[in-house]
Symmetry: C2
Subunit: 217 residues, 2 copies
DNA sequence: AACAGACCTGACCATTCAGTCAAGATTTTT
DNA sequence: AAAAATCTTGACTGAATGGTCAGGTCTGTT
């Protein structure tokens, strides 16, 4: 606790622990994303982060606890992104920013998105409570906001729920189905393609609800 | 080969075999959808169709062959649906019909859709060749058609590829994320909700590309 | 330097699970 | 009715895997 800043490499005990945990969580996220919970093995995760398997069990008592931590971390990131849906902004700005942020997440957190998708597809055994509480509340407030836009005549009258699902689906698709997209594209999307895709998605969805979107960039 | 029609229950040897295989494939599809390939066990599939495990191995020599057959069957259904994208029709009709058909598939073949999603998310180890051949060809022809609509000024200029992905994503979401949707909805969507969701998706996407959609029903 | 506590790991164990097998039942053919 | 083919199944096996543990190492404290 003496000098907080310093060598960076050694760090305090707690810092080193956190760092190792992050190393394991990163590896676990990737392995869980690529193999699912059942298909992933502790050995594969150990190999992915270069630690002996027994060491993983020192930090995370068992596979399920490790998985749980991975999922919780993803939910945190999701929540942060959810904050970019500014309820005070105009629909144009709020939706464009939210969609853009979600596309960015799909690009930068592909594995996390896949783990989330897997978890939900398998009946959300771990995150059911989050769905019922946090996600539900968040969704309901946004639906209310969208309904307000409709009542004010800013956007076309549609069921806000289906609009939310459309946004989630479209943006997440670029992470969850990245392999399919890359196969059809002969390789990963490049910077320009990501921008184009993002702009196209914004354009379709905004016009779809009756907004004439301003220029993208 | 004598009387082809008749009792229906007994059937010929080949018919009974086919029926048993279908029974197993149905159960396997559900179990694979809910647990993933790695998480699914032959015993669970056996229980799901009420046969002893050893019997499964009589019909399908191993787990991977069974899985492969499940995936192939799904691809067949997908292909059939792909046919509803009428290249000769106007964009309005073609897209509305295709989207509607895909929404219907999400409702009626939830398990199949989930297995497909799982397969792709895990790098498509089984269906890679389909992606590269059949799916690729199909996609390219539809992209050409859409591009034709753009050139003719029927729809707004957008990259047809991102439009295809948006359609796939949005419609499949209702199967793959059914659990999340049902949690937020306090239960499965009813008939009216499915119709409303379908109409909303059609409305958003068609307007999104610059078509004023005719009435839904 | 000695000690204590946190961290690391190879070897091991118990369980689970895909896949086998041999013997029996059932249906078809001769 | 006998023989042959197909189908069924309980019991078993070998390999993989989650998890344990005893003993070692490193780090910070006194």
């Amino acid at each position: 606790m003496g000098q907080t800043e310093g060598g960076e490499k050694p760090g305090t005990r707690a810092e080193m622990r956190e760092e190792t945990e992050r190393l394991i969580l990163d590896a676990a996220e990737e392995v869980f994303a690529e193999s699912g919970f059942g298909g992933a093995t502790m050995q594969a995760i150990a190999d992915a982060c270069g630690l002996p398997k027994a060491n993983l069990h020192y930090y995370f008592s068992n596979k399920e606890k490790l998985y749980r931590r991975v999922v919780e971390r993803i939910f945190t990131i999701w929540l942060e992104a959810a904050g970019s849906f500014e309820t005070s902004a105009t629909p144009d700005v709020a939706l464009r920013r939210y969609i853009t942020r979600k596309m960015q997440l799909s690009r930068e957190h592909r594995f996390g998105s896949k783990v989330w998708a897997n978890e939900v597809m398998h009946g959300a055994p771990i995150i059911q409570d989050y769905l019922e509480t946090t996600l539900r509340r968040w969704t309901e407030t946004r639906i209310a906001v969208i309904q307000g836009w409709i009542d004010a005549g800013h956007i076309r009258p549609i069921n806000p729920r289906w609009l939310m699902y459309t946004i989630w689906a479209t943006t997440q698709h670029y992470a969850d189905f990245a392999h399919q997209i890359e196969t059809l594209n002969d390789g990963p999307l490049d910077e320009a393609q990501w921008q184009d895709a993002t702009e196209t998605v914004c354009g379709i969805l905004l016009r779809g609800i009756g907004i004439d979107p301003g220029t993208g960039a």
